[in-house]
Amino acid sequence: MTQDVWILGISMTKFGKHRGKDTVDLASEAALAALADAGVGMTDIEVLAAGSLMAGTSAFGQQLQKQIGQTGIPVYNVANACATGATALRTVIMAIKAGEADLGLAVGVEKLSGAGLLGPATRRKESDTWVPDGRFGAVAPLDGRIGTESMPGVFAQIGLEYGHKYGGADFELFARISEKNHAHSTLNPLAAYSKRFTLEEIMNDVMIAYPNTRPMCSANCDGAAAAVVVSGTRLRALPLEQRRRAVKISASVLTSDPWREGCQVLPDVNTLTRQAAARAYEQAGLGPRDLDLVELHDCFATAELVHYDNLMLCEEGGAVDFFNSGATWRDGKTPVNVSGGLESKGHPIAATGIANVWEICHHLRGEAGDRQIEGARAGLAHVIGLGSACGVHVLEKAAV
């Protein structure tokens, strides 16, 4: 039988602008807080997985070790777009399930304040003579000439495609999803933005890519998150107080996008999310109706709608009715993004996939203060990195 795995300690920094701190400072802050929360030290950790897309080094984990503890353990530096944090967590979970370690640390961090619009990493220079280049034999940059490569535009098309297929999703509906998440964020002291917006303010703000206005896009910010993962065997030998706060990882799944007609024309974020969710529910022995809260990847308001359906929180094609029923507000039957989501909590890319898990753990431990979902026993954290990678973790409250 494979080893069961648990979150023993977990933390996130405040998301926002951290002018005086660099990437290693933020990662250290999150990692040391997670270790303290777990009641263990760096010398107890047997494996480290770390991710930071903007750190500008392929050995970020080692830079972190040089500040918090060089103990000689294996380090896995991971990158998987916006699923980087979930990938770091999953890497540690796999090492523990494989029996190679009993305690591991996963860390994700990003300095993104003021990064502006996220899109293609490099843009070709306009040349004085046309020379075919790249996989399309293109003589000039294609962004803006043959569709868009910008994230708000890509996810706008994904949302409108769903709206057209099933009906009922217009500009105002997407804006109301954003209204919900910004309203939720007012209860989250660690959110980058915790201002409530009216529907009119959201709809009249700067249009980025129709129907996504600025408050309907994820917020670039600085932040880090870290988790200490422990094997069931080791956990059972720990004192009651640590066992009581431990959170069971009932499912941990990572998928990539399987080929579908059109998936290289417009990324298909649906199929891999649906497959990850199905596998996660099977692993956990739980269904969507058993979830007390969900943190899903609302990189744009248009994305949140399709993931209600992909995560099977509603019937296929029923995401609009599901949202309109009020189900995803914090007092609804399946609260979604009570943290404020990426639109207001913020989206420091590599930290996001651990910060989402932190939010769920916070509620399952009964430590979420003003925004506590009362009696929460099970939750799901979802992230998607365009390219694509999807991470889903299902978490349950300890039975002790």
């Binding site: 003579t129 034999g137 994904i158 890519a209």
Partner: protein, 130 residues
């Protein structure tokens, strides 16, 4: 006639400009880029197939904010051309959600990208209301 080059190699400039996809000889999956193998079945041989010049709008966005060098606003879209999804801009139509309806009929057209120092014109494509 001055020299003309296509913006991308899957655009064929002729009397009737058209898009040509690389179709997997085994599973018929279609691609527009240079291939190493088929992402659907792994086969390594492809044939060129003409994509129908008309189609319907699957989805779109109106991009209003873009990186430097990209002219805004523009309408980015996915068009279903006889069962094959094609990426392209909508042209000769106002960038106004009131004018754009998924399912609307579209046809392929060409768009000048500009002329280089040697006097060669680059020609791209877009879709306009049919």
């Amino acid at each position: 006639m001055a020299d003309r080059v296509p913006l991308v190699d899957y655009l064929v400039l002729s009397e009737d400009p058209r898009l040509v996809a690389r179709e997997c000889e085994r599973c018929a999956a279609r691609f527009f880029d240079r291939r190493n193998a088929c992402a659907s079945c792994g086969a390594t041989t492809f044939r060129g197939v003409d994509i129908p010049r008309t189609g319907t709008l699957v989805t779109y966005t109106i991009v209003s904010v873009a990186p430097p060098g990209v002219a805004v606003p523009f309408v980015a879209a996915v068009v279903d051309c006889g069962g094959t999804a094609v990426r392209g801009n909508l042209v000769n139509v106002a960038p106004d959600p009131g004018r754009l309806t998924p399912g609307m009929e579209l046809r392929l057209t060409t768009v000048s990208v500009g002329t280089d120092g040697a006097g060669t014109e680059a020609v791209g494509y877009g879709f306009e209301p049919a």
